[in-house]
């Protein structure tokens, strides 16, 4: 257990280091390459927290598609960072305030993996006991996704469909019309 915490600390330290490197990079092409490393590190961290699906999404979207989009943008513009006209004080204030609010927001959520969490005390046992009889699907994950939170899944599918249509409208115009 302690060795996992040690690995988590090492990975988080490297994540912080990568963020500082990205910020210091003046060559945007190198910065794009470093963002790939950043998302691979985040994927490893998600994996150590047992969120395998999130980790997988981060690796494919962050290291795969986002790098492609950044490079496509660089192909249209220049690949060196221009010097800012003045020091962006307002942006620093906004970022600091948002960070403080987020830290304040996580102060009263239950700790990670705590057996006394509301989700462990009554929600999971109820699904395990009742859902095969109530819904009639043997797989509990499927019954939660498709029935208990069916509206949520419908919303997610709508969002993905809209995104797909948008991407196809933007990219699919290269086809020749006869």
């Amino acid at each position: 257990m302690t060795i996992e915490i040690f690995i988590d600390i090492l990975l988080l330290f490297m994540l912080l280091l990568t963020a500082l490197f990205i910020q210091r990079m003046k060559n945007l092409f190198s910065a794009v390459i470093l963002t790939g490393i950043f998302s691979l590190l985040s994927a490893s961290l998600f994996l150590t927290m047992d969120a395998v699906d999130v980790s997988f999404t981060e690796a494919s979207v962050g290291a795969g598609i986002a790098t492609l989009l950044f490079l496509g943008t660089l192909a249209q513009t220049s690949s060196t960072e221009s010097r800012p006209q003045r020091l962006p004080v307002m942006a620093l204030v906004v970022v600091s305030l948002t960070g403080l609010m987020l830290i304040y927001g996580i102060s009263d959520i239950p700790s990670f993996g705590d057996p006394g969490n509301p989700v462990q005390t009554y929600l999971s046992p109820r699904f395990i006991e009742v859902s095969p009889r109530e819904i009639g699907i043997p797989n509990m994950v499927t019954s939660v996704l498709a029935s208990y939170r069916g509206y949520d899944t419908l919303g997610e599918v709508t969002v993905i469909f809209t995104a797909c249509v948008g991407v196809l409208l933007m990219l699919g115009r290269g086809r020749k019309r006869s």
Partner: protein, 96 residues
């Protein structure tokens, strides 16, 4: 014990690859470093799975290895042609 030591060694290798990606004088060093980092991540996932007693992480590591090369190919293509969709002649551009 030996698996734990290997996992720690892999994390240290990650740090070394990260330093190379930052210092790296040429762009090729950086491309190689990020490719190496992806490979080390695949190794890390499989070793972490064995360390925590879940060898089924190996399947996830395999899929990581499959998607690992996409970004590298895109970066190299960009570097070679300066664009992501080369090979279009001006006549084809006019059709669009």
């Amino acid at each position: 014990m030996i698996i734990t030591a290997t996992t720690i060694a892999i994390v240290i290798a990650m740090a070394i690859a990260l330093v190379r990606a930052y210092l790296g004088p040429t762009t090729y060093d950086r491309i190689l470093a990020v490719n190496l980092f992806g490979t080390i991540t695949v190794l890390f996932i499989s070793m972490f799975g064995f360390m925590t007693g879940r060898p089924d992480f190996l399947d996830i590591a395999l899929v990581y290895a499959l998607i690992n090369f996409i970004a590298t190919i895109a970066v190299l293509k960009f570097f070679e042609y300066g664009d992501l969709s080369p090979g279009r002649t001006p006549e084809q551009e006019r059709d669009i």
